[in-house]
Amino acid sequence: MICVNALNKKYGTLQALLSVDVEMESGRITAVLGPNGAGKTTLIKSILGLVKPDSGTITVDGILVNGESQYREMIGYMPQLARYPENLTVTEIVDMIRDIRKTASSRKPVQNDTPDMELWDRFGLDSEKDKPFRTLSGGNRQKVSAVLAFLFRPKVLFLDEPTTGLDPVSSSILKDKILAERDGGTTIILTSHIMSEVQELAEQVVYLLEGRIYFEQTVSELLEATGQTTLERAIAVKLGREPEMVTETGVAS
């Protein structure tokens, strides 16, 4: 459960976020959408603590995001483009992240002690484990990144274009995993420019435009209200009432 309350952020003269209020419930997948520069990244980075907002509050599972790092124990993050130290092997990278998590851990290692290696096994990463990161293909990098995001059974999961570069089999393995986590009660925030993927995974859409929330609706409500069958169409209609508007406002991420 993430609560964002009256969030403002300015970069110089550019208003990146303007009094944004959002709630992202647990056990649901919320898609954050919007054209480039709409504030998606800023919003997500604010929740992750990478960007410090000018005003407003964010709570993650009731914990206020205020510069402390401890709440990020609950978070798993799969970036759009993962870059780990190039000369470390895959095993070393996993070890490193586990090391860091262990060192930072405030809890007694009880329930979340065993890491979640399901994706590792299903992706068959054992064959890659001794390769330096720089030699990995884009797809394999994405797989490593996914494994690391799910590794600590996070309560909150950020997925930024998660299926980019993945082959269809891996992609559906990942989607299965995402849905399983959702059913386990995890709060999931998704950004993607593939609307079919959003439609397939997400229950809720938060649409940002010029730093404001343009609309916030469940997928089914959105489809119903616009009378469309696909999310892509539905958003296009919602934005401009005209399908031609889609290209102009650039729904793509």
Partner: protein, 260 residues
């Protein structure tokens, strides 16, 4: 936590090709100088010229490149329960230490296997100290620039300009000042000007080691006091430390509040 981050940083950096090239550069150069010139004192004197040019340039460029390339990695780590100050020191030491080790190792190894005299070792250690300080200072400057400017071209360009400024232009300005105001008592201002440039500081430290006989040719009480007593050494080292603290602190503070 800093050590944890550092551990993996070091592992990464020491496996990279450029650090190996960096070691080899100093190793081969020192070795060749030993083969040509023989005694360790002369080698140190010759290395001085190279170190004052190569180290600031290499450190600031490598530093900026490194941090720009590590941008996504830093963001990634910051999504884990890592404190920013921990990550900063991990990243900073993770580059500065390998560079210092590479330079110091490359220079000192030939001294070891050439069984240099105590005098030569003293010179070599002074050289290594100065070079190490310059490495850390210019890595710190690079980090500050890379954190200050998100545009890499701008950051790298500025790094080059700063390096060029301190290596060449600054001394030109000093010479100009000396010429223009040659009839005024300028000892203190000129000395102060030199202390404001880390490369000049390093140079003065090494001059105190290698060219004291020439420096003693300076007339004037202030110079005699400065170069003829431990004062010069003390002030230079202190200023160098200050030069270390300022950019590191600036970079550190920037890192704490930066929006990634």
């Amino acid at each position: 936590m800093i050590l944890k981050i550092l551990k993996y940083q070091l592992r990464d950096v020491f496996r990279s090709r450029w650090i190996i090239a960096y070691v080899l550069f100093f190793l081969v150069l020192t070795d060749v100088l030993f083969r040509f010139g023989g005694d360790g004192l002369r080698v140190a004197t010759s290395m001085m010229n190279i170190i004052l040019i190569v180290i600031p340039l290499a450190s600031i460029i490598l530093g900026a490149f490194y941090l720009y390339n590590a941008r996504e990695y830093i963001e990634l780590l910051l999504c884990h329960p890592v404190k920013r100050h921990q990550l900063f020191w991990g990243m900073f030491l993770g580059l500065a230490l390998p560079l210092v080790a590479a330079f110091a190792g490359g220079v000192m190894l030939p001294y070891l296997y050439n069984a240099a005299s105590a005098d030569a070792w003293q010179a070599a250690l002074m050289l290594v100290f100065t070079g190490s300080m310059l490495t850390v200072i210019f890595v710190a400057l690079a980090y500050y620039l890379a954190l200050r400017f998100d545009d890499r071209i701008k950051g790298l360009g500025l790094a080059l300009v700063i390096c060029l400024f301190f290596t060449i232009i600054y001394d030109g300005i000093i010479l100009f000042v000396i010429y223009i105001f040659s009839s005024y008592p300028l000892e203190k201002p000129v000395l102060a000007l030199s202390l404001l440039n880390p490369i000049d500081l390093g140079r003065i430290l090494l001059l105190l080691q290698f060219d004291i006989s020439a420096l003693m040719g300076l007339t004037g009480a202030v110079f005699r006091e400065f170069f003829g007593t431990p004062l010069g050494m003390t002030v230079s080292v202190a200023s160098l430390l200050l030069w270390l603290v300022v950019p590191v602190t600036a970079g550190f503070r920037r890192f704490l509040v930066k929006d990634f």
